[in-house]
Symmetry: C3
Subunit: 343 residues, 3 copies
């Protein structure tokens, strides 16, 4: 593995070095886990204690933080960013893929438009009239349907499926196995009690800087579009149903499910395994704790529980539920006292 | 995009036109969202208010519904069906896939039997003695295992896996990424505390008109079969474990999980993120609300909660839980009163 | 289908036969479901009643179990193991895949190292410097990233993705569609309120005898590694987040999710749809019931509920919740009595 001296790192990240410029760093890790060959960082003063005991070779801190004796520092305005740059430097020095450029096994329809400096891996399939933006990478076994458009600088990991007519913006990342544009789950029951499929004629829009997790599924709309707005990050195994509108800069953690036609504002955050009922609206900046169930529209706030209620209310309710045994005993005591009152 | 005049649409769907036969329709949408180029429909008199304000170019209604002035109508016995036909007409006019017929890159074992008018996409793999029925489509990157049988008119979307010996009926639809016939999750612990795999010797049967969602998983049985009966629709990311028997015409919404050897009757409906414990039975026509946990067998009815209880009971319980703070205060008040009684 | 005589089976499993050695067995099933051509077994004396009514052609029992008249037995020390051997004998007699050896369509980088007697299916992709151990099978459409190592006797089912640098031990089984080494879900918010991706520089380690279910996802670590220790079995659609450490010989049932940096001891068991919060620790031999939510570290024990609490406590709480209606009525009665007391 490649390594960098502290002097090189200070230059690359634009930080002031406090320590031995000739020391070499070959990895990155958290304060707790870092060894003497690792860089680490203090993002939050709460972790100051961890800094004291850390064995990291160098620690990125901000200009407000007081350095400790016997440790080495890279001091800058934004230590998270400094650390991020180091992490990426070390990453770029790793072994890369053999599959750059357009692999001869890829099947690309002649009506598709392929941008400049595109990478298309082995066994990729690109259907009619698809448009692939400049510098986009489509890895092995991925499928790009008819009339799909991908912007520039996208990264499609192996085995993704993007069905016909879906539109991806710039810098979109799809983790392996995710499915964009599967049919929405819509049926009408006929006179014999059979569910007849409602054709799902719409598509999916993923705006700029969206990331979709491994094996997540985003259904196409029945009409018009299912949309994930810019900058939103969706984790593994999440389900987004037809006609849902997920606002900008949302974070939806793993295994969360959003039912049909639900809408979220911008900067909404949901923990893992949350469920959102169809047709509800979740306002901007709302935070929803893991495993919550959203059964009605939510105003901006912090929620927990199933059905989800404001967190302070949830906490009070939890205390009361835990005290139920005590309440039942006190109730019995009162009944006995009252029964034994002199008439 | 292709378009149709109202006169053409009236003929195609067998409806009576009320309006200008030369007007053109190029899309479909709900009453709320439709523009003047869209067809829409009124399926339920509850939405009559939406019809008043709709901008739809034409609205499908039934013969009982009173038309409003200034709007155009296609009047028939079954407006949902009329609308569905229009939706499908418009769909078939869209750009199609380049991959019809049998793609030269597909790897098909010579012992496999391929029906008439079958489509097999790029990089499809078909193993020994598989049988593919007439007019079935198998899209790119799908895998059909040894001795698998597919009926007629099936549609297998890209990247599905159907493992050896599974049997699919006619008109079965598999959304992308679903896995049919993965090994059931069965182990026995040996004397050293290690879990030894129990070979899963059975298979999976999907009867006629079954649809399985994107990235859903249906495990093969340990012996005999896991079965999904005719007409049942299963949504994305659902898990059906080994030896489960899902009855006919069920609807199981996204991220629901059914454990081993559980059975459902016919016309059972489950919301999203429901969990069904192993070996329980759910009777015909039972409806289970989203996020419920079924921990014992259920008679026909409507259920909610985890563990799932009848909905009226669930609602009462919820009210009491929300009132716990009040109850605790009333308890305290009583205790104080009793303590202050004159002796 | 091949079949075996009882005499042959007795020899193969090392059991004493009680019955007609010339009778033939062609299948295996549970006591309840077995027909006269099936072998079955009694693993637990609790199922003795099922043995009485079973139609199985032969039943594997241990030396302690008293045989019943009119039935045939294979008597050994470990009837589960005897039955398992019979099941595997019957399995190996089924039709096999056409794709043994290295398929000519596979794309294998010349810098990869391929062991002896390896099977590589159609359209498999193996990137730079990957190492594949002896007798390992990689089925159709699977992707093996740069510098990945696979041990000996692994079985990778169709359409798996193993991203760069992940390390798999010996006898690892991956069910179809699972993704090993997808990017961990980590972002930092910049000054404009945008989530910037934190590069995930680590990898995933799956130790010997690990099995991962269909469409399950195991994220790579931000630094260092996400690890699943030896002998652990993970079911379909499970999510393991970055930097998690799953101990040895765990059983995690379907749709369970483990958040970042959580740790489990050895021999932990979790039912389906369980959620584990980030950074918590679950001690050795802990059992967690289906649909539980683990929100803090757990000492060895049995837990249920969300948040998960010890099972006896959970059961008591459930009883109190169900009695809330009664408590509310008793409270009202007390209030009335007290109001009606003579002054």
């Amino acid at each position: 593995m490649k390594s960098f001296t502290l002097e090189e790192l200070a230059k690359r990240v634009g930080a002031t070095l406090m320590g031995d410029g000739s020391m070499r760093i070959s990895g990155v890790d958290t304060l707790d886990e870092a060894s003497e060959n690792d860089a680490s960082f203090l993002a939050n003063i709460r972790y100051r204690e961890a800094m004291k005991t850390s064995k990291a070779g160098v620690i990125c801190i901000d200009t407000e933080t007081e350095p400790l004796d016997g440790k080495q520092y890279l001091i800058s305005k934004d230590p998270s960013r400094a650390f991020q740059i180091i992490a990426e430097l070390l990453r770029s020095s790793r072994e890369s893929t053999a599959f750059t450029g357009i692999h001869p096994t890829a099947v690309i329809d002649p009506t598709a438009t392929i941008g400049k400096d595109v990478n298309i891996g082995p066994f990729v399939v690109i259907d009619k009239k698809a448009v692939i933006g400049d510098r986009t990478t489509i890895s092995a076994h991925s499928f790009i349907g008819t009339s799909v458009t991908l912007g520039t600088d996208c990264h499609i990991y192996p085995s993704c499926t993007i069905r016909e007519e879906c539109q991806l913006g710039n810098r979109v990342i799809l983790q392996s196995g995710c499915v964009i544009g599967s049919c929405g789950f819509g049926y009408i029951m006929d006179e014999k009690g059979c569910h007849r499929k409602l054709e799902q004629l719409g598509h999916v829009v993923l705006e700029d800087d969206v990331e979709i997790g491994a094996n997540a599924t985003i259904d196409r709309a029945r009409f018009k579009k299912t949309i994930i707005c810019q900058g939103t990050k969706i984790d593994n195994l999440v389900q987004i149903a037809h006609n849902a509108e997920i606002g900008a800069h949302n974070i939806l953690a793993a295994q969360t499910g959003v039912a049909g036609s639900a809408k979220t504002g911008h900067h909404v955050m949901m923990g893992g395994q949350v469920g959102v009922l169809g047709h509800v609206t979740v306002d901007d900046y709302t935070m929803v704790a893991t495993r919550s169930g959203i059964s009605k529209s939510l105003k901006t706030g912090k929620y927990r529980g199933s059905p989800a209620i404001p967190i302070p209310e949830y906490n009070r309710q939890e205390v009361h539920v835990r005290k139920l045994k005590e309440y039942a005993e006190r109730l019995k005591t009162l009944e006995n006292k009252l029964a034994n009152l002199p008439k």
